[in-house]
């Protein structure tokens, strides 16, 4: 089979050449579909990343009153640690709080304030984010705790929206995969029609069905992989522009997944999906044709050659 690879390539390109208009249209359609698929996938990846980060690391800050001594703070830590729903507690001193703040921003905050305004706090990791509100209430009642904050509290309520968006992206992705598949099936069907005579001759002289299928598989693969590569390029450019924009306009950026990691994930998904859609699409089309007259090359004298 492999020594015929050159022959397959020639046949494939000869075939594409003969229905070049529909090949081009298909290529563009696959490209556009896969581009939107890429956008959907990015969306899904970001939401997933964000939601899982949020859920796994939901932290609560219990800000301690400045009068509390270190020993009292340690006692308080023990109390909090034993509350149900608490996974871990960590003491953050005033100095540490300041350092963390400084780390998170590009502005030198030491220039802005004369003395450290940040209180010491307990950083509490919760087991179940859904029960966070109740837990926050009981911690706030403890002596020595000035205030409890969990900045992500509001996010808790918009979590269903994220899930909804993720769902929509997912269904949209499935729809796009289906649409791409149908496009490829139709085009390969056309390719088969323009090569009906070759197929008949091949069957007649004893080509195996895999040999007959192969040029069409290759054609489907070219659409799938080619479309994936092109749309991946476009998505990559778009995403990096978006990243730049966000980095230049917002100091905090908890939303974005690391660019390289995102592109690596996306490339794998797009190429696998594109390739699979191409191969499955052409297999569907060719099998339908071969089944319809399996090894029945009805070369009748009515079909006079030009």
């Amino acid at each position: 089979m492999m020594r015929s690879f050159g022959f397959f390539l020639e046949e494939t390109f000869e075939g594409i050449k003969r229905h070049s208009a529909s090949s081009l249209v298909t290529f563009l359609q696959v490209f556009i579909s896969l581009f939107f698929l890429g956008v959907c996938l990015i969306f899904i990846i970001i939401i997933n990343h964000f939601v899982s980060n949020f859920l796994n690391n939901m932290e609560m800050g219990a800000f301690l009153s400045d009068e509390l001594t270190y020993e009292q703070s340690v006692e308080l830590m023990d109390v909090v640690e034993n509350l149900s729903g608490v996974r871990a507690v960590q003491y953050v001193s005033k100095e540490e709080a300041f350092a963390i703040m400084q780390q998170r921003t590009t502005v030198d905050i030491a220039d802005l304030v004369s003395e450290n305004p940040l209180p010491a706090s307990l950083k509490i990791t919760v087991i179940n984010p859904r029960a966070a509100e109740e837990l926050a209430g009981s911690i706030a009642l403890l002596e020595g705790v000035d205030d409890v904050a969990y900045g992500e509290a509001q996010l808790q309520s918009i979590l269903p929206i994220f899930y909804g968006l993720e769902m929509i992206s997912f269904y949209l992705a499935i729809f796009l995969v289906g649409a791409t598949l149908i496009t490829i099936v139709n085009t390969i069907r056309l390719a088969i029609l323009t090569r009906a005579k070759e197929i008949k001759i091949m069957q007649l002289v004893g080509a195996t069905s895999w040999f007959i299928r192969f040029p069409f598989l290759l054609e489907g693969l070219i659409y799938g992989i080619g479309g994936a590569a092109l749309s991946l390029g476009l998505v990559a450019v778009g995403y990096s522009l978006l990243m730049d924009y966000i980095q230049n306009n917002y100091i905090f950026n908890p939303w974005m997944v690391d660019y390289d990691q995102m592109m690596a994930n996306l490339a794998i998904m797009m190429f696998v999906l594109g390739g699979l859609i191409g191969v499955i699409g052409s297999l569907l089309a060719v099998d339908k044709h071969l089944k319809s007259d399996e090894y029945r090359p009805s070369l009748k004298s009515e079909t006079v050659t030009s």
């Binding site: 070759e198 002289v205 195996t208 069905s209 090359p297 070369l299 004298s301 050659t305």
Partner: protein, 240 residues
């Protein structure tokens, strides 16, 4: 040791999906190295008989043995391998217009995965056999009908098949060219290939003096060595 026939129809009946009975209880043996004309009125079942041999149709009843093997229930995956041992030629040549003569012939080797060296060696041999060695680079539409049929024959014999099936190979050709084509077929036959040729051409049949199998309504009516075939008989039968 008695030779087994290369083709053996054992009470074969072929019924098409539309219930046309194309072959009816056909009993026919064709031995190795024979040259056999298949004659009969239009629609009598000549093409159908050949289609059974190259497995474009399967007998509805009876058994068919080809090259020492019962192919009645041959699994589809084995069909290509049977076909590699058969050459088939049609009235309408079935050439690819965008390929040269040599490429058309090479195509049948390429699609069965033959090594390039094999193809390089065999194509010129086959073209020389049919007398087209000087037209290898031409395209089919630059050739006469007889020459196009020679290309089709070269393609059919390139793998030196033991059996060559020709369905009205001279149907589109004038009498002189037809004679040349049949002469070529007898040459191929002399090298050991069993040749079966369906035809309406009484002149050809009668001048070459080979075995003649006469079919009517899907039945073998008579079968003679060095037979004669009178179209008048056929017409009379059809009129009555």
């Amino acid at each position: 040791m008695p030779h087994e026939p290369v083709i053996h129809f054992q009470r074969v009946t072929l019924v098409y999906p539309n219930l046309v009975r194309a072959l009816e209880d056909v009993e026919l043996e064709i031995g190795e190295g024979e040259f056999c004309f298949l004659v009969g009125p239009t629609g009598c079942g000549k093409s159908s008989l050949m289609r059974c041999v190259y497995m474009s149709e399967r007998p509805s009843k009876g058994h068919l043995r080809v090259l020492g093997r019962d192919i009645t229930d041959l699994p589809p995956s084995r069909v290509p391998h049977l076909r590699r041992r058969l050459g088939v030629v049609f009235q309408d040549f079935q050439l690819l217009g965008y390929k040269t003569v040599a490429e058309n012939v090479a195509f049948s080797l390429q699609v069965i995965g033959a090594p390039v060296a094999d193809i390089r060696r065999k194509v010129p041999l086959a073209l020389r056999m049919v007398g087209l060695e000087n037209k290898a680079k031409m395209r089919p539409d630059e050739l006469s009908g007889g020459e196009q049929q020679r290309v089709a024959i070269a393609r059919a014999i390139i793998n030196a098949p033991p059996i060559l099936l020709c369905d009205e190979p001279t149907g589109n050709l004038d009498p002189d060219t037809s004679r040349d084509i049949v002469r070529l077929l007898t040459l191929i036959n002399q090298r050991g290939t069993t040749v079966i040729m369906a035809t309406h051409d009484a002149q050809i049949v009668n001048s070459f003096k080979r075995r003649v199998v006469y079919i009517e309504d899907g039945r073998v009516m008579w079968d003679r060595d060095q037979g004669e075939y009178k179209v008048d008989d056929e017409k009379l039968r059809l009129l009555s």
